[in-house]
């Protein structure tokens, strides 16, 4: 904290002014219909607090719980992501916020911590992850040294830090791909908002709809911002992106089982040769059905949040001008900042909803949705090979644009996936088909490699590659790895499901900064038989005992002839018993003869 204060004194010229309350909290919901009857809803909440307020623990709009954790752990900048699902770039285009508010499946977290040595950074990271795991009801405390890496080129600070503070900070990045993001993680999110989900756009957030989405990502970003000529302040942004499938979200809560649509409501493809009364090829998912906010989110929006900046319209929707959008009475429509969207200023006391109608016109030239922007890069990653001893990873990176793309490819792999870096190879083709027309040498594609090998049970593999793909080319990046077998207690309860391998993080450096992530992977490791620990110990001990005992006996005992030596006591007893049996029948035989006499 003393560091923050001294840094403050260095930078501030004028005494700090209280920032106007009006611009401290800003919230906005952006809706964008996507192809195949989906809609992207981006909730964005932003709070500022001046650094003097932050230091003196005077929390108004900045969540106190988060602020105190950050102070305790000496965090300069924090980025935390909870993601579920997969962004379908081919249908939905470029990612929202250029991929900067998205993480890999599960939990991903990176932070710049005040530390002069690596050990100090590890200590603070431990504090940070454990405290945040309590705050967000997520098992972030499992982000230990085996899941933490120190990226070199992939992440740049988004806030404004002076060069000397930056020199004294360490960046740490942790992933938890196995974490299932659920309502218990949404609740702390909503509790950190000033209006706590009771008014404004936060009132639309419902766990049932959010976690039913095709893709959802919850992000928290805390960073210091220093606008030129003004005082610095600390900004916390909470972003929730979700891609809802309209038909699925419209199913009522109490009756969510999909039921067959009555025949008169079916939307059929009439160009098919077999189209008739009795046969139908349904294309209702291709068009844009009609929907309204209350249907899709399951609840109406309750007015506006009184703490929000009244100048900023809370709801914006990006549709082409030809589409009709209906809003509740009392709301005012405005042209959006980017010229393409329509934004609405709401009546603070009434519920608000937006409704879009289905375009039933036959004029195909009428656009239903704003065409999604093509992304700079497509990335896919999968496992190759079979068996539980070796495998390979293949990443297919496609550059569909007209300019060369340079990016950093970061992978944080678990230690039990032992990669062979010498097998890292690339080959380029001009289409996405795997035809091998040219195999260019690695140095053309891979510019730099930052590699930190794994240590068993101590740390994972960190692999960062700076790659450059020419325009309209596809690169296949492959490498081999070997699977380790783990101890009994290191397997999760569902061992045969496999182990999650975190998503690869791609940071595009040129032509413009963007982020994307591949999907996570499931790694199958060989498993022992879990029902048999006792049996294994017994069998192995028996084998050892037989060997040792046999050898010991042979060494220690003395040789005698087979008939020499003292008779064995067991044999003597047996001989006695035999003799007894022999005598008794002889006795009974003799008596009758004596009686006869």
């Amino acid at each position: 904290m003393r560091l923050l204060v001294s840094w403050l004194q260095l930078l501030l010229i004028a005494p700090s002014l209280l920032v106007a309350a009006a611009s401290d909290y800003h919230e906005q919901l952006t809706l964008r219909p996507l192809p195949f009857s989906s809609v992207l809803a981006s909730f964005h909440f932003r709070s500022n607090t001046s650094l003097t307020d932050f230091e003196s623990q005077n929390f108004r709009l900045f969540p106190r719980s988060l602020g105190q954790i950050l102070q305790h752990a000496g965090t300069r900048e924090l980025h935390l992501r909870f993601t579920l699902g997969r962004w379908d770039a081919e249908n939905w285009g470029a990612r929202p916020w250029e991929g900067t508010r998205e993480g890999g499946t599960g939990v991903e977290m990176w932070a710049w911590l005040d530390a002069s040595t690596d050990e100090e950074a590890d200590q603070k990271w431990l504090t940070l992850t454990n405290a945040l795991s309590g705050l967000f009801c997520a098992s972030l405390n499992f982000i230990d040294e085996t899941r933490t890496i120190r990226p070199v080129k992939s992440f740049q600070p988004e806030g404004h830090h002076s060069a000397e503070t930056l020199a004294n900070t360490r960046l740490l990045h942790g992933v938890l791909p196995h974490e299932v993001v659920c309502t218990e993680n949404l609740t702390p999110f909503i509790k950190m908002l000033p209006c706590k989900g009771k008014a404004g756009i936060g009132s639309l957030l419902d766990g049932h709809k959010l976690f039913d989405a095709s893709f959802q990502s919850m992000a928290i970003d805390v960073r210091p911002v220093c606008p030129p000529g003004e005082d610095c302040f600390l900004e916390v942004e909470e972003t929730i992106d979700m891609v809802l499938d309209i038909n699925r979200s419209k199913r009522p809560q109490g009756n969510s089982i999909p039921r067959p649509v009555p025949p008169q409501d079916l939307v059929c493809d009439q160009s098919k040769p077999y189209h008739s009364d009795k046969t139908c090829f349904p294309i209702d998912h291709l068009g844009s059905p009609d929907w309204n906010l209350a249907q899709v989110f399951g609840r109406p929006m309750k007015g506006t949040c009184p703490l929000a900046d009244p100048e900023v319209p809370p709801v914006c929707i990006q549709v082409p001008g030809s589409r009709d959008v209906f809003s509740t009475e009392g709301s005012q429509e405005k042209q959006g900042a980017d010229g393409q969207s329509r934004c609405y200023l709401l009546d603070p006391n009434n519920d608000f909803t937006l409704a879009l109608t289905n375009l039933r016109s036959d004029d195909k030239a009428t656009e239903e949705i704003v065409k999604p922007e093509a992304p700079l890069l497509y990335a896919d990653r999968s496992f190759t090979g079979y068996g539980q001893e070796h495998g390979g990873v293949q990443a297919i990176l496609t550059n569909p644009s007209d300019e060369e793309v340079e990016f950093v490819y970061l992978e944080s792999l678990p230690w039990f996936m032992r990669i062979y870096l010498h097998t890292l190879s690339t080959h380029v083709s001009t289409s996405t088909a795997t035809s091998t027309n040219s195999s260019t040498p690695n140095s053309d594609i891979i510019k730099e490699v930052y590699y930190r090998p794994a240590l068993d049970r101590a740390r994972g593999t960190q692999l960062e590659l700076v790659l450059r793909i020419p325009a309209r080319h596809t690169v296949f990046l492959t490498y081999d790895f070997e699977k380790a077998i783990l101890r009994y207690t290191e397997y999760p309860p569902d061992a045969n499901r496999g182990f999650d391998v975190a998503a690869a993080v791609i940071t595009i450096l040129s032509p413009r900064g963007m982020n994307l992530r591949t999907t996570s992977l499931l790694l199958y490791l060989p498993t022992p038989d879990f029902s048999m620990p006792y049996n294994v110990i017994i069998f192995t001990s028996t084998a050892i005992a037989l060997a040792f005992g046999g050898l010991y006996n042979i060494l220690v005992r003395r040789f005698v002839g087979a008939d020499e030596g003292p008779p064995s006591p067991i044999k003597a007893k047996l001989a006695q018993l035999k003799a007894k049996f022999m005598r008794k029948p002889a006795a009974t035989v003799q008596q009758p003869t004596e009686a006869k006499k």
């Binding site: 079979y386 068996g387 539980q388 001893e389 068993d456 049970r457 380790a484 077998i485 783990l486 101890r487 009994y488 207690t489 060989p526 498993t527 022992p528 038989d529 048999m532 620990p533 294994v536 110990i537 069998f539 192995t540 084998a543 050892i544 037989l546 060997a547 040792f548 046999g550 050898l551 010991y552 006996n553 042979i554 060494l555 220690v556 005992r557 003395r558 040789f559 005698v560 002839g561 087979a562 030596g565 003292p566």
Partner: protein
């Protein structure tokens, strides 16, 4: 014993290995080993463009081991040590036959073509024994230090090797006191080991971390990759709180054979070495077929006591069974997915039991042979042990 015979066998073995090396896809089994092997292999041209050089290196190592074995066999130490002369020593196998049995053993060929680094350890052990027999204890100790540097367990062969070297010292430079001789040689071993560790220290950037990565792995069994031994499955299924205890027990067990065998068979130190090699190939932490091939290489030295062995058929059958079913069950577990780990584990048990039967049978035969010197009338009769 003729040079032509020797050359013939060596050339045949080399050609066979070259042919097998040429088959593409036979896997590389170079695992994490001692640091000094790295500069050795970096001296060779790049393995991917010129694989012939690696092949030649491994073939050379195999031929050197065979050479040491020939010297061992021809010295007649197996039947006729300094303190003991077997009544059957006339029947011993000739050196060339022993070398041929070693070179054409499928297990040896597999370890060579698979490019395991155990072949270096095997070569060093054989050289140490051969040099000890031929009266150069210093060379023997240096060779044993190299072997111990590469894997840890050859250090346990030090007592019988000292005894062997002591028995076979050349007359001109004799040390009469066994204790002095032993102390001198232990110092030699310690010195050479220290030099080798120092060189590794310098090579790995002036850090002692390589000790943890090479010897530490064997001591703590941190890598549990399935192999033909007994340790891996045991320590997979073991709960963490008992690991340390059982690791200590297993290592103690491995070390317990040295003292007993050396005392009981003081008159035949080479036999002690052979039996110990058999024991190690069963009970060391990461055994492989290369260790078994070393034991089977030294076994024909005792051809004169083969008639006294009782369970040759059972042991041979068990070993063959395990050799054929082992790879099959491993494939079934790891690749086909239709078997589980227990299949392969059962095979490792059979392999260990077969080998232990062979080792104890050899011990019995040697001891009986020894006993028949004082009781020559018992030749061919039934005996028992009490």
């Amino acid at each position: 014993m003729t040079l032509r015979g020797k050359a013939g066998i060596y050339a045949g073995a080399a050609l066979l290995r070259l042919a097998l090396f040429a088959i593409p896809g036979l896997p590389d089994l170079l695992t994490g080993r001692a640091p000094l092997l790295l500069p050795l292999f970096s001296l060779l041209p790049d393995a991917q463009t010129w694989p012939i050089f690696t092949a030649l290196l491994f073939i050379l190592v195999d031929l050197l081991s065979a050479d040491a074995l020939v010297k061992l066999a021809n010295s007649g130490e197996a039947g006729n040590s300094k303190l003991f002369a077997s009544p059957r020593r006339a029947k011993k196998a000739c050196g060339l036959v022993v070398a041929a049995c070693f070179l054409f053993n499928p297990l040896t060929i597999a370890s060579c073509v698979g490019r395991t680094t155990s072949v270096f350890t095997n070569c060093a052990i054989l050289y140490a024994t051969a040099k000890a027999i031929h009266g150069s204890p210093f060379n023997a100790m240096v060779a044993l230090s190299f072997a111990s540097y590469l894997s840890m367990y050859p250090l346990l062969l030090l007592p019988p090797l000292i005894l062997l070297a002591f028995d076979r010292q050349p007359e001109k430079r004799r040390t009469d006191s066994c204790i002095k001789f032993a102390a001198k040689n232990v110092l030699v071993v310690a010195g050479v080991m220290a030099t080798l560790q120092g060189m590794s220290f310098a090579l790995t950037g002036n850090s002692w971390e390589f000790l943890d990565r090479t010897y530490g792995i064997q001591l703590t069994l941190s890598d549990l990759t399935p192999n033909v031994g007994l340790w891996w499955y045991f320590f997979i299924e073991m709960f963490d709180s008992f690991r340390a205890f059982f690791l200590a027990v297993f290592w103690l067990h491995l070390g317990s054979y040295v003292g007993g065998l050396s005392i009981r068979l003081r008159t035949q130190p080479l036999t002690v070495i052979v039996i110990l090699l058999g024991v190690f190939s069963i009970f060391k932490p990461y055994p492989s077929i290369a260790d078994t091939s070393l034991f089977l290489a030294m076994l024909p030295l005792y051809r004169h006591v083969f008639p006294l062995m009782r369970y040759t058929f059972v042991a041979a059958a068990a070993l063959l069974y395990a050799t054929f079913l082992g790879p099959a069950f491993y494939h079934l577990w790891i690749y086909a997915g239709s078997g589980n780990a227990n299949f392969f584990y059962a095979i490792t048990l059979v392999w260990s039991l077969g080998q232990s039967l062979l080792v104890s049978d050899l011990t019995f035969a040697v001891l009986r042979d020894e006993w028949e010197v004082e009781r020559p009338e018992m030749v061919g009769k039934d005996v028992k042990q009490i």
